[in-house]
Amino acid sequence: MRWMWIDRVVELVPRERLVAIKNVSLAEEHLHDHFAADPARDLPATPIMPMSLVVEGMAQSAGILVGHASGFQEKVVLAKVAKAELERDPTPGVTLRYTATIQSLTAQGASTQGVVEMLDHANPGAGFVRTGAVDLMFSQVDHNMSGLEFPEHNFVFGESFQTLLRSSGIDWPGA
């Protein structure tokens, strides 16, 4: 399971909406570097999930939603981050929730709107609190590359995505 930035898909309404969660854990090695302590400047270690990975988490959530619409037959590639507004640092122990909604979907690509929410387990009564929005564009590359050819096998939706969906209780089309 490499480069997976969501832990589970908790809701899938085909061609409409997908909701996924990500538990941020101190066991993730990159958090020890982002940010490491800086004794020279007297700064303590400050583990924060990089915002670029939050965008990637939304891209995976929305990408699965778009890919599912074609039975994962299309190579769905993130083509544009139309908007990314993220207001709170995800620290170890919080749960992120990504809700991706399809805005437009054609054979060439899709645009999606996404809401990022955070659950702080130290304050569970507050529930999931909205912390940002990530709107994206995807290209279905076989329809878009003006004659460029890509490998026949689907290099986007590989085993990691299949495992994620299976462990989320969602059938892989054709499986």
Binding site: K80, A82, T106, Q108, M137, S139, N144, S146, G147
Partner: protein, 129 residues
């Protein structure tokens, strides 16, 4: 819908899709040369125009595909007469006067101006009644 109102809506779409300032979106500005649009932005613009105006734009209707790759239409880096005729047939909303004077294939993108988008939307809205 009046042309001014159509222009205003197209301007809003381009400001949003291309992250440009409103005053950059003039009628004569070209989408790629002046406003920095890349290939995926064209799909974004199509989606946003559909949402704003409520009509459907078919693939290749606004930005034609499979023309520049055709050796009948492009030879030696220049658009042939047949290519020019095909572009005109498929893009009645665009102004070809500059391209006809210097039909280099690298200049084809210049016909996609803000004005061409407004013409396209105006014609679509008129057809829809």
């Amino acid at each position: 819908m009046e042309r001014d109102e159509i222009f205003q809506k197209v301007q809003e779409v381009l400001v949003d899709a291309l992250a440009v300032d409103e005053d950059e979106v003039t009628p004569e500005a070209s989408l790629t040369g002046d406003l920095g649009a890349e290939s995926i932005d064209f799909l974004d613009i199509v989606f946003k125009l559909e949402q704003v105006f409520g009509f459907k734009i078919e693939q290749g209707e606004l930005f034609p595909d499979n023309v520049m790759q055709n050796p009948e239409y492009v030879q030696g880096g220049r658009v042939t007469e047949a290519g020019m005729a095909e572009l005109k047939r498929r893009l009645p909303h665009a102004d070809f006067s500059k391209l006809e004077g210097d039909p280099q294939v690298t200049r084809v993108a210049e016909i996609f101006t803000v004005d061409a988008l407004v013409n396209f939307c105006e014609a679509k809205l008129q057809r829809a009644g």
